[in-house]
Symmetry: C2
Subunit: 246 residues, 2 copies
DNA sequence: CGACGCCTTGATCAACTTCAAATTTTGTGG
DNA sequence: CCACAAAATTTGAAGTTGATCAAGGCGTCG
């Protein structure tokens, strides 16, 4: 896969700004020809979204679709009395939006600073009509999201508070760049969510999340540097707690 | 939509067995030309699956994909210690299987007697290659499943036992044929799952499910005929309990 | 410095689970 | 069709987990 980057680097028909872009790996841009990429390039707007900004994506009628270039986006659902559930986290190079489909009642917010690359809806929709591989790519992303949602249903429905927190830490580990994390037993990670958000992801309260993090710390399985940065000391034991699975 | 059935009924190029088939509405067969349908027809095998039979779908390498024609299929995930979570229910005309994608660790079982119409994998995959509308159709089904999974994450993570049971009953109501159910306040429904399965769908125990059903009954919101057949007396109140949503 | 946001910790409480047993339903063979 | 065994459901009592309520610590920013 870094093949493509290497190839792009020497290919002057690939727009400069796309050559080392994460969306060119696994994102929809990975299935485009250099020509299609050049066409698309004319319409893109790159922006930085601050933490907590709502990514209109899921709402406005004529707006844009986007690729996530960096940062973490949280998807959440709300009940009328204020109860909230985070139903998914998205990372680069995920695509935001649903071409041809009506939007759902899900709120998409930047959980961290997020960089996105946005395109007018009709441009993407035309592209999909002309290149079925784009639809295949989006379809695959959605199947992955479906698998993740169902995995999380198991976590929400059947795991204990400790197992939930362990599962969350492992989820973040799995999205930490392996070039940084390696296959080491000891891995330092930054938590993209604050305690209240972790609670909303795990179906717990802030207090319970805090207690279970303390619990993992006292067992020596993790260490807490700053509150948003932890070190996994023993990934095996963490996995054993999280995945009584399969 | 019953337009299509009416049209099919007079169209002698549409295979007889397909003319009033549920898969011809919203299922993948709805996007096929009569010619494609005739081609496909040569390869199909219709079978009846008994309750609890595992629909190989999610496992075997060279097997088949299928349309659900009737009945309810449950998708579940298992932990090594036996804890279980049902992560989805599927109804006609849902498609079972994931063309081109590796299968997941999800178990698909007949929750009731299920009738399916199966095709060799390569036949479907060829069809998809020739007709992009089929992929679009599957993609839409998967997005619907994703929405349902996320809706259920809210139920699992944030609702009380009573709200969960109310949500489940409403889910079944929503899949009850409106020709039978109508828009009446009073609706009789058959529960496709036994208590233990409802519990595994809601992340509860059998006992809690039973108690909350009793609770709803004592409030007069539902009546229980036989254990697997209940009458919703007051859909509005039931919805009020279930959906503090949105 | 003081206020605020965020996190942690402790004490109490409620919801749901677990354990136990009674009751009803279903399936099977005579 | 009945008798009986097995399975499913309901109900009750006690126990646990995680929620709620309350207070305090830590770090940041004006």
């Amino acid at each position: 896969m870094s093949d493509k980057i290497l190839k792009d680097m020497d290919d002057f028909t690939v727009p400069f700004m796309c050559r080392s872009c994460k969306a060119r790996h696994g994102g929809i841009c990975s299935v485009l020809s250099p020509g299609q990429l050049s066409d698309l390039r004319k319409h893109i707007v790159k922006t930085e979204q601050k933490r907590n900004s709502v990514l209109n994506v899921m709402h406005d009628e004529q707006g844009t679709y986007s690729n996530i270039l960096s940062g973490v986006v949280k998807l959440s659902k709300l009940m009328s009395d204020g109860r909230q559930q985070i139903v998914g986290l998205q990372f680069a190079p995920d695509f935001l939006g649903r071409p041809f489909s009506s939007e759902t009642d899900i709120l998409a917010e930047a959980a961290t600073t997020v960089h996105i690359c946005s395109f007018p809806k009709n441009v993407i929709e035309d592209l999909i009509r002309r290149n079925p591989a784009v639809e295949r790519c989006l379809h695959e992303q959605h199947m992955k999201e479906l698998d993740e949602a169902r995995e999380w249903m198991l976590t929400l429905g059947r795991k204990t508070a400790l197992e939930k927190v362990a599962s969350f830490v492992l989820l973040i580990v799995s999205h930490t760049d392996p070039k940084i994390a390696g296959n080491k037993e000891k891995i330092e990670i930054g938590l993209p969510l604050k305690r209240a958000e972790i609670a909303d992801y795990l179906g717990l309260t802030i207090e319970t999340v805090s207690r279970q993090i303390t619990n993992l710390r006292k067992r020596g399985i993790i260490s807490v540097n700053e509150r948003r940065s932890i070190v996994v000391n023993d990934k095996k034991r963490l996995s054993a707690i999280a995945d009584q699975c399969e």
